[in-house]
């Protein structure tokens, strides 16, 4: 048990920070309640999926600059296909194509031996172009039940459906993989590629898998965008830098091999609630930008100061 706590100090610290911020929100806006939580969870939805995907590729030792663009492609595919083939088929198409796009990213990286950051930087443009080719202007239509599926709470008021969606998707996708040989290979490849190769891991295949998982999460991210807005938008949203920030904030080490998905997702919630607080407090929007940047930097600074001796830096 204490071992568990020690290994997850950072995640627990983030969770504590989130709860403190939540309590603070309540004090500055006393009627912040169920609907506030629900909208917080909804707002976190696309960020959480982008971050989960980014976390997986960072763990394998790479980075995916094209997450926001893949999400845009997925959102337009969803919005275009759902009126034609229906919601369920639309979801399956989107998730499949998301995974395929991720696999293409990974495949190109492995086949060309071009560094991850360069390939995905190029793919950022490629996928954005694809999104614009599919849908030149915002449009399409998401199934109504999909939009309803993330509205409101379930079981008890204050347990937002959107939160449950994040929890279920991430655990159903990631937990079995994390426990499997593939999960081990992902961490091994990120930690020390040569040693992993010498231990018998097919590092190329492992990478492609990691990028595919990232693509799958981006598929969910795209679906959450259409569920939120009801339409598909071809222009990528601000998910790239936000997801990198959340991944690092969540304790995943850039360079690979360390960290999990829970920390980054909590980090997403921390970043979202900071924005909520700043809005509720009526802070000048320009200062909001300054505060968001400062919080991001100082949380990571604190992490660096505390873990300096642990050799994480």
């Amino acid at each position: 048990m204490s071992e568990l706590v020690r290994k997850n100090t950072w995640t627990l610290g983030l969770l504590a920070l989130f709860l403190v911020l939540l309590a603070f929100t309540k004090t500055i806006q006393t009627n912040f309640g169920v609907s506030g939580l629900e909208s917080l969870a909804r707002a976190a939805l696309p960020f959480a999926f982008a971050t989960a995907g980014m976390a997986v590729v960072v763990i394998v030792g790479g980075i995916d600059l094209s997450v926001a663009s893949i999400m845009a492609v997925c959102s337009v595919i969803a919005a275009v296909s759902m009126p034609v083939v229906g919601g369920v088929a639309g979801i399956l198409i989107v998730l499949t194509l998301g995974t395929v796009m991720g696999a293409i990213n990974g495949g190109v990286i492995v086949a060309t031996k071009v560094p991850d950051i360069v390939v995905t930087l190029a793919m950022l443009f490629v996928w954005e172009g694809v999104a614009l080719l599919i849908l030149e202007t915002p449009g399409g239509q998401a199934s109504d039940w999909l939009q309803a599926s993330i509205q409101g709470s379930i079981f008890i008021p204050g347990l937002p459906k959107a939160l449950l969606v994040i929890a279920i998707v991430v655990s159903v996708v990631w937990l079995p993989i994390r426990r499997s040989q593939l999960g081990l290979s992902i961490y091994a490849t990120g930690s020390h590629e040569i040693a992993a190769f010498r231990s018998g891991v097919s590092v190329g295949v492992t990478r492609i898998w990691a990028y595919s998982i990232c693509g799958l999460f981006c598929g969910f991210g795209g679906l959450s965008l259409v569920s939120l807005t009801g339409i598909g938008e071809p222009v990528p949203g601000p998910y790239l830098l936000a997801s990198v920030a959340a991944v690092v904030l969540g304790g995943v080490v850039l360079g690979g091999g360390r960290g999990g998905l829970l920390g980054p997702i909590i980090a997403v919630f921390v970043l979202r609630i900071i924005r909520t607080i700043l809005t509720l407090a009526g802070v000048d929007p320009n200062i909001t930008t300054i505060i968001e940047g400062t919080v991001m930097v100082s949380v990571v600074m604190l992490a660096a100061i505390f873990t300096y001796r642990g050799g994480r830096a």
Partner: protein, 319 residues
């Protein structure tokens, strides 16, 4: 006086037009006696992010929301939620499809149509034009494209030799026109979606003969219309101060003076420098001290009540 708290949501930051819109909102809120607070959400984001901001504003307990929507259809869930809580919603600059929301918008379709029609007439109904758009996939750009196409359909002799997206970025627009000048391909006029003064600069710097240019009423361009020798052109008004008008409308509605129609379109006006009358209008409108990216039409007559100094001070009631 009443004690209204108004929320503002905007999704593009760092562009002169939007900055003017925000300042107009602040200034109008300041002069409205019934407004006690203004909460502004102002950042670069997509529709999903704007939904987040709208929900946060609702949670903050505002009485009205004035927003510049990123998309007409995408925000319905939050707007419906706001209206169901009795919050007045006013969309400025572009429309929204949600029922019960008021729209006070510059007529973008007409904006493009006016300017394009002037240009095509100027060219005598035939010639080659360069068409410089905004951001692909953004609704204002789509509306303007519709207006431009409508004008184009009326002039069969006009031919678009080059169509390009500037991304509403000054540097990109300038690079692109330089690139096109370098091809040596002949053209007779330029229609540009608000990235305008740098286009004139490009002609002057490269020594290329000036052709008629249609832009917006940005301070920089309007000044060029009188100052640059040989430049024939027109500025179509697209006041960012429509934001201030949105605040005024919201207050009217809160005070029970709702207009009969939910949609109010502010029609653009065209200022051209080829006639004496036109030049006089431009002379009167321009303001060399203004940030060159700001539209010179800092007020919307009949709607806004603040002074020039107040919008430039850019101070709202709570700041």
């Amino acid at each position: 006086a009443a004690d209204y708290k108004i929320g503002v949501s905007n999704t593009v930051q760092g562009n002169g037009w939007r900055e003017q819109m925000i300042c107009a909102m602040r200034a109008q809120a300041l002069v409205e006696p019934d407004v006690s607070g203004l909460i502004v959400s102002h950042r670069n984001t997509d529709s999903a992010g704007q939904l987040e901001d709208l929900n946060n504003l609702i949670a903050a307990g505002v009485d009205a929301i004035v927003l510049n929507p990123s998309n007409p259809d995408a925000l319905n869930s939050a707007i419906d939620n706001a209206i169901s809580k009795g919050i007045v919603v006013v969309a400025v600059d572009a429309g929204v499809t949600a029922k019960g929301a008021y729209i006070l918008s510059n007529n973008q379709e007409k904006y493009a149509y006016l300017g394009a029609k002037w240009l095509f007439e100027k060219l005598g109904g035939s010639g080659d034009v360069v068409y410089m758009r905004g951001i692909a996939g953004v609704s204002a750009d789509t509306d303007r494209d519709n207006g431009f196409k409508r004008a184009l359909a009326e002039f069969s002799g006009i031919n678009v030799v080059h169509e390009v997206f500037t991304g509403w970025q000054q540097d990109q627009g300038k690079q692109q026109i330089f690139d096109f000048l370098a091809t040596g391909i002949h053209f007779d006029g330029v229609w540009t979606s608000g990235i305008d003064n740098v286009i004139v600069d490009a002609f002057v710097e490269s020594g290329a003969p000036l052709v008629p240019i249609v832009g917006a009423d940005n301070a920089g361009f309007v000044q060029y219309l009188t100052a640059v020798d040989g430049l024939e052109g027109a500025a179509v008004t697209n006041p960012g101060s429509v934001g201030g008008a949105g605040i005024a409308l919201a207050v009217d509605i809160l005070n029970g003076n709702a207009p009969t129609e939910t949609t109010v379109l502010v029609d653009p006006v065209l200022w051209e420098n080829t006639t004496a009358d036109g030049r006089a209008v431009i002379e009167a409108a321009q303001n060399p001290n203004l940030d060159p990216e700001w539209p010179v039409s800092v007020t919307v007559p009949g709607w806004t009540d603040y002074s020039m100094d107040q919008i430039i001070a850019c101070k709202g009631p709570s700041s």
